[in-house]
Point group: C2
Chain length 202, copies 2
């Protein structure tokens, strides 16, 4: 039916490329854009272009930074530069930041090793992590990839690379166990097993 | 943490207004925009501005139209202009169009009567529907609002208004019953009751 609405069809084509807009929601989002006032459209376009100019990846940790301010992690004197948390993407970095309980810096991999999707170690920032560790400032690397087969394989790959580099650094990963507030009978048995086998003093 | 990323924070503020982007997805979408190439940003902005100029609501049926082409429903000689399907929004119109089984025209209400949200009959296009029916071309109105309390109340309100206008037109609504391919034991009892009480000859 969009044969009769070619301009609208082109907007929909654009929207289709945006992640997390399933086809039904897409029409809602399209309607949102259609109902914007002209000055709101200009504002949105201005901010998109400004973001493009002023925001980019830090070339040490690969988190987003504003060029004018520099990386809020790597250049911060309040953060422990010897503690590096390795995460898959910026979204996981935000999850850890939101805890307000981490004071180290980050290293964003940009994804996980996934041969089926054609993503190898060289497509991620693993090489940059190894050379970052080589400079001697880093004392501990926390591997915080997700508990998916790809995430765990990527963590194992990085751990072997770091061990192979012969540096005397600590390699750790996130604790596994029962989520806060959970009860045993609602958890799967692998989680309960992990919580039991990795039990800690009371 | 976005205190240190003011430009990015402004983009996120904009994205927050877009429907169906829950807060977690928003960061994915923000990252999508951050990774766009400059010419892709310009393309997107150009299409947004073009849509703004060229697309608007039909002032008879309130569906989206391209001004240069006119309304694809109201001006179509292939469509039955005497049959009007009343829908809540453009999304429901698309649902009916996708069936390829409806050859009449539409009337988009722009929402439903919802006193709690401060939406009264005067905020919808009900007055325009009544005067549209007054012109004598319309012979049947199908009330296709959703089966929510608000949707059904709106349909009842429109039906009483149409009856009160004293015109001799048919007012109908969508059939209720078992969805195609369903089995009785997976359906709720109200649906089964409706299917039974509104049974039809085999």
């Amino acid at each position: 039916m969009f044969r009769d609405l070619p301009v609208l069809a082109r907007l929909l084509q654009h929207l289709q490329r945006i992640p997390y807009l399933a086809s039904k929601n897409m029409y809602h989002v399209a309607e949102y854009f259609l109902r914007l006032k002209p000055d709101q459209v200009e504002q949105l376009c201005a901010i998109l272009l400004e973001v493009k100019q002023k925001v980019g990846l830090c070339n040490q940790c690969f988190a987003w930074q504003e060029y004018a301010r520099g990386c809020m992690f790597c250049l911060s004197s309040k953060r422990d530069q010897s503690l590096v948390c390795v995460v898959e993407t910026w979204q996981e970095l935000l999850c850890i930041e939101k805890t307000n309980g981490y004071n180290g810096v980050y290293h964003v991999l940009g994804g996980v090793i996934s041969p089926l999707d054609g993503i190898g170690p060289e497509d991620l920032t693993i090489k940059q992590l190894i050379s970052r560790v080589d400079n001697g400032i880093v004392l501990e690397v926390v591997l915080a990839t997700n508990q998916t087969p790809e995430g765990e394989a990527t963590a194992a790959f990085i751990a072997s690379k770091l061990a192979g580099a012969g540096k005397d650094i600590k390699i750790s990963c996130l604790a596994r166990g029962l989520p806060v507030g959970s009860s045993l009978d609602t958890m799967d048995r692998v989680t309960v097993y992990k919580a039991l086998s990795e039990r800690r003093p009371f």
